[in-house]
């Protein structure tokens, strides 16, 4: 929880150091860097997404939504069909009102019943069709949106998969991760609840105005005006309310979330040590901030709702005021008067959906911005071969050719050199240990040597495959254990690991006992939560050994293990694969006697032999 509570969670990672800082990862290690970076205490909301979300109104939100729509690859035909069904649904409602009014006004003139037959049948037909159209409308619109979301998900994955690793490293944060899922859904919601209803409202409003205007242009004009007010002012107010409630309240919401998490995670400790009252006070303060923002939002939301009711009433009253004298004057028949007075009420059903639509646009706009920011961070496809500093020989080299050669290498992030002057040679059969205290830049160095981030200076040559990952396999401290079977987790490293090989590798890392104890052996579903820390580490090590890459880089493989386990594992690692090249990155000086070479990074982050 350390990083989360410290930085207050869902903040866009802006600095590489932020990105690198996983939730559970480096407890103590980053404290120096962290304190200096935090300066004033509360972290600023970073990234390109934040600025846009605060400023601008409904229009800028609409632009943000429009910008992401191409990624959904929505079929124009399907969208048109959905709009058509929606329009037919509401047209049926408007038609039902108009024809009923005609029917009753005409009937009061006591014509022959046969004169009413067509109207009677029409009323019944419209009554039935409305429900039917509504069903088809909802299915069609949800289908459009869900297809879009599925496409978006896949694109997101593909872009991140080939993108810069810095972008995906941030995914280790649980909140960021689940947000991606929720954001994709939010973009789908805007199609169903925002864009399609807006299109339907435009079609139906226009139709109603034409219908009423055909009888009385003046009433038609008033209807057009009131519909416009209801369809523009209402949504603008509703969107403003939503923005206050959601964007402005975000910080308070986060505080509430942190306070809640603090109490839940620390419940026992807070009770035992008497800290609960102060934790509750903190929650109450956060709630009061949230309440303030929510209450500010309630005003415009209420106004938006009132405007909807008011405009529809005004249209009816105006129809009476204009229509009655017009009938007396003879420009409108009695039956037509009934139609122009009673139809407008139904027409407002179309605009009634718009405030909610605007709210959805506002909500989804932040999601759309975040997705674009993430895609932007991932950048265009990465071509390791084109890197000016990493030379990787384009060849299907045999294992013994693999080599990582660093000369005067400097590692870091753009504008910030973390480590410099690294001379290192890693090749099969060699075990090298990179030793350094926490926070000395070991992880950055590892990422660079694995070819996952660009060197800042010096020379780095990674030989032995088409891409650096063919030659070097990097297992970070907090490598992901997939929620799948033991065997499938090993196959992440290489697709064709068979059962026999799996058992062999697991035995080498001392996990044969565990597998024997698991109910379904290799086919048991595992996850980071169901394994102990030591088991997880060993399984990750086994996976690294399954990798076809001849060179392995292991970052702090013994972190969080008890001393004996750590010592044994560290010794094991260095003697494990003599046919491989192993770079062990650790802060623990014990158990590294078997190394061929030990490099030390000291506190000042310069390499020192």
């Amino acid at each position: 929880m350390s990083a989360e509570t410290r930085s207050g969670s869902p903040v866009e990672p802006t600095r590489p150091a932020d990105v690198l800082q996983g939730p559970e990862s480096q407890g103590e290690s980053r404290e120096g860097a962290d304190l200096s970076a935090r300066g004033g205490g509360r972290p600023g909301r970073g990234g390109r997404s934040a600025g846009g979300a605060r400023s601008g109104g409904l229009l800028s939100d609409l632009r943000a939504v429009r910008a992401i729509l191409p990624l959904l690859d929505v079929s124009r035909r399907r969208a048109l069909v959905a709009v058509a069904w929606g329009s037919l649904t509401l047209s049926a409602a408007v038609g039902l009102a108009a024809v009923s009014a005609w029917l009753i006004a005409r009937a009061s003139q006591m014509p022959h019943v046969l004169d009413l037959t067509v109207a009677v049948v029409t009323v019944r037909a419209l009554g039935i069709s409305r429900g039917l159209f509504r069903y088809l409308d909802r299915l069609a619109s949800h289908d459009v949106a869900l297809r879009g979301v599925a496409t978006l998900r896949e694109r997101l994955y593909r872009t991140l998969a080939v993108g810069r690793p810095e972008a995906t490293l941030g995914l280790r944060r649980g909140d960021l991760l689940s947000r991606i899922g929720a954001d994709a859904d939010a973009v789908g919601d805007v199609v169903v609840r925002g864009l399609l209803p807006a299109a339907v409202a435009a079609v139906v409003s226009t139709g109603s105005v034409i219908l009423v205007g055909a009888f009385s242009p003046a009433i038609g004009a008033v209807l057009a005006l009131t519909l416009l007010i209801a369809g523009v002012l209402g949504p603008v107010l509703a969107a403003r309310a939503a923005r206050v409630a959601e964007v402005d309240a975000m910080e308070h919401r986060r505080d509430v979330s942190v306070a809640t998490t603090t109490i839940l995670d620390g419940a026992t400790e807070l009770r035992v040590q008497g800290g609960m009252p102060r934790a509750r006070t903190a929650l109450a303060e956060a709630e009061s901030g949230l309440r303030g923002a929510r209450d500010r939002a309630a005003g415009p939301a209420a106004l938006a709702h009132g405007i909807g009711v008011l405009t529809s009433g005004i249209a009816t009253v105006a129809a009476l005021v204009i229509g009655i004298p017009a009938m007396t004057a003879g420009t409108l028949t009695p039956v037509e008067l009934a139609v122009v007075v009673l139809t407008p009420m139904a027409a407002f059903e179309a605009t009634a959906a718009l405030p909610a639509a605007a709210v959805q646009v506002t909500r989804s706009a932040s999601a759309a911005r975040r997705i674009r920011a993430l895609l932007h961070a991932a950048g265009p496809e990465r071509c390791p071969e084109s890197s000016p500093r990493v030379r990787s020989k384009r060849q299907n080299a045999a294992t013994h050719d693999a080599k990582v050669l660093a000369r005067g290498l400097a590692c870091g992030w753009p504008g910030h050199t973390v480590v410099s002057g690294i001379d290192l040679q890693l090749e099969p059969g060699r075990a090298v240990v990179l030793l350094g205290p926490s926070g000395s830049g070991k992880t950055t160095t590892a990422l660079t040597l694995a070819g996952l981030i660009e060197p800042i200076g010096g020379k780095l040559e990674i030989r032995g495959g088409r891409t650096p990952t063919d030659a070097v396999s990097f297992t970070p401290e907090d490598a992901h254990l997939f929620s799948t079977t033991v065997l499938e987790n090993l196959r992440v490293a290489r697709g064709d690991v068979d059962v026999e090989e799996a058992h062999r590798v697991l035995e080498r890392v001392g996990l044969n006992g565990l597998v024997a104890a698991l109910p379904e052996g290799l086919d048991t579903l595992v996850s980071a939560e169901t394994l102990s820390g030591g088991e997880r580490r060993r399984l990750l090590l086994a996976r690294a050994l399954c990798s076809p890459a001849p060179l392995l880089i292991l970052d702090e493989p013994t972190e969080h293990l008890d001393a004996d386990t750590a010592l044994a594992l560290q010794q094991d690692i260095l003697t494990l694969g003599r046919e491989r090249g192993i770079l062990l990155i650790t802060h623990d000086e014990r158990g590294i006697d078997a190394a061929d070479e030990v490099l030390r990074l000291d506190e000042s982050a310069r390499l020192d032999r």
């Binding site: 690793p165 991760l177 934790a279 903190a282 209420a302 009938m327 009934a338």
Partner: protein
């Protein structure tokens, strides 16, 4: 799923005021709707009949205009109040659930903690649409619809009978919606959660996959998962929408039936045009709340579900607390064959733990990862009651079991620092409970022993720096140093420290060990979870903690 859970009223004060005021507003809205329909018909009918001109009906039209404004104001007021109440009800429920969850003990929290967190931080927000959209419509359906039907009956009995005869069909379908969507909503939720979790798992593993150069491998899997998710959602929507479509269908069929009926009776002259028009205007008004209830049912179902989860938390009985008087002097702590079963596996950690920590000595709990050392600490603290065996407190006036002691009193006697201490928000001085930190020599000694003095020097406002939520961020190591400082300051006779030297370098570790030894010499019971050899070395006594198969 109940449309309204009375427990909401008993548990959230804000909900009571809300229901009262909204009911009042609904009655006013109902009066407004009835009057508008009657006046609208009264101003229109004589004109259509040719009996009146603008001058005759102008007052009625003016009244309609006034009612329109009034209705808009009522609508706005209902909405505003609903928003405000929702915020307050959510906050009330959250606070109650948190307070209660905290008393349910570490075992319950370990099992339900993350689910409760999701409910309290995100799930409860779904109550807002429930309060803003669903409940007002439910009240309208309960108040306005019957009122409209009564008025209709006085105007045109046949029309009213038509509506009353067809209306029960809607509740029947409402019930059907309830039954069908509940089953399907759950299945859909499970299905999409499963698919979603798989997708997120792949995303979470992207850096790992990239490191193996296999990131594009699962792209096809992502695609099929996304498509499967879409298909499963559509399948459930087809059913969910079908039932609500039937609701819409009947609502509009009833309006159509009323219109046709009134029209045909007008031809025979059995109904006046004024009554007919009023009925025509009223019929959709009577059905609108029912349609709205149906339309917002899905949006509010999540809120109801979240509230139900909160009720479930609140209805969980906390483990019984002991009531015994806790001794203020402790000679020793004794674990007597203590076994605590792990939840999901068939073994216990610790299993059969027996040992004694005596005042005047530093006692170490040792053992490999997962042996149950931290759990043993929890049993000492009294936060967790062992499944078998007991933890005993030896005091001058006898031996008592920790489980039988009043927790509040016992916690006064124990200073405990877990592996990952939580720092409640406030200033450093608040946290440590000191008023004059600058010239407190015991504080200076404790802080230098834990290495906290180095940290405090780097904080912008020193002892007055706000820490925890919304304040200065502390790393895990810093948090542990701070918590240790507080524990050393506490006058408690028992010190329980989980890996106190984990984040300290060699020199600092020596320093802390010395302070622990001094605390022991002063007559305290000092228990530490020890991993590092130096710390184990420094212990006067060591208790080995072991996990093992649980004997059934």
């Amino acid at each position: 799923m109940k449309p309204f859970d009375p427990r909401l009223l008993t548990r959230a004060r804000a909900a009571r005021g809300y229901m009262l005021l909204t009911a009042g507003l609904t009655v006013a809205t109902t009066a407004c709707v009835l009057a508008t329909a009657v006046l609208l018909a009264r101003s229109l009918a004589p004109v259509i009949d040719g009996d009146a001109t603008w001058a005759d009906v102008a007052p009625a039209v003016a009244a309609v205009a006034g009612l329109v404004v009034l209705r808009a104001v009522l609508a706005a007021a209902t909405e505003r109040f609903a928003h405000r109440s929702a915020t307050r009800v959510i906050a009330e429920l959250r606070a109650q659930a948190l307070n209660h969850a905290a008393t349910l003990g570490p075992r319950w929290l370990a099992r339900h903690g993350s689910e409760v967190r999701t409910t309290l931080t995100r799930g409860l927000d779904d109550l807002e649409p429930y309060f803003v959209r669903y409940l007002p419509q439910l009240l309208l359906a309960a108040i306005l619809t019957p009122a409209v039907l009564i008025l209709m009956a006085t105007l045109d009995l046949t029309a009213a009978v038509t509506v009353v005869a067809l209306l029960p069909v809607i509740p029947v379908f409402m019930w059907l919606i309830g039954v069908v969507t509940q089953t399907f909503a759950r299945r859909r939720l499970e299905e999409s959660e499963r698919l979603g979790a798989q997708l997120l798992d792949l995303l979470a593993g992207l850096p790992t996959l990239q490191a193996f150069g296999r990131a594009l491998g699962p792209a096809e899997r992502v695609r099929s998962l996304a498509q499967a998710s879409r298909r499963s959602t559509m399948a459930t929507l087809r059913v969910a929408f079908a039932s609500s479509a039937v609701l819409e269908l009947f609502a509009s069929l009833i309006v159509a039936a009323v219109a046709v009926g009134v029209g045909l009776r007008l031809v025979t002259g059995s109904v006046s045009l004024e009554a007919g028009l009023a009925v025509l205007i009223l019929a959709p008004e009577a059905l609108l709340p029912i349609r709205q209830v149906g339309a917002h049912f899905h949006a509010s179902a999540d809120g109801i579900a979240a509230a139900e989860r909160v009720h479930a938390v609140l209805d969980t009985e906390p483990p019984p607390d002991g009531t015994g008087h806790a001794p203020e002097t402790v000679h020793a702590i004794r674990w007597n064959a203590v076994t605590v079963g792990a939840d999901d596996r068939a073994y216990a950690a610790p299993r059969d733990l027996t040992g004694r920590a005596v005042a005047g000595q530093v006692t170490g709990l040792t053992g490999p990862n997962g042996a149950g050392k931290s759990t043993a600490m929890l049993t000492l603290v009294g936060a967790l009651t062992p499944d078998e065996g007991e933890v005993l407190v030896e005091a001058p006036d006898g031996v008592t079991s920790v489980a039988s002691l009043s927790p509040e009193q016992w916690w006064q006697q124990v200073a405990w620092v877990p592996q990952r201490p939580v720092i409640e928000p406030g200033t450093v001085a608040d946290y440590l409970g000191v008023t004059r930190p600058a010239d407190d020599s015991r504080l200076a000694e404790a802080a230098s022993a834990t290495g906290w003095s180095e940290v405090i020097a780097s904080l912008p406002q020193g002892w007055q720096t706000r820490i925890g939520q919304g304040g200065w961020g502390l790393s895990l190591g810093q948090r542990q140093r701070l918590a240790l400082t507080r524990a050393l300051l506490a006058p408690a006779p028992v010190l329980a420290l989980d890996e106190p030297t984990a984040h300290l370098d060699g020199l600092a570790q020596e320093h802390l060990i010395e302070v622990l030894r001094r605390a022991a010499t002063a007559g305290r019971v000092v228990v530490v979870v020890a991993h590092r050899p130096e710390l184990i070395e420094a212990c006067d006594a060591v208790i080995a903690v072991r996990a093992g198969e649980r004997v059934a």
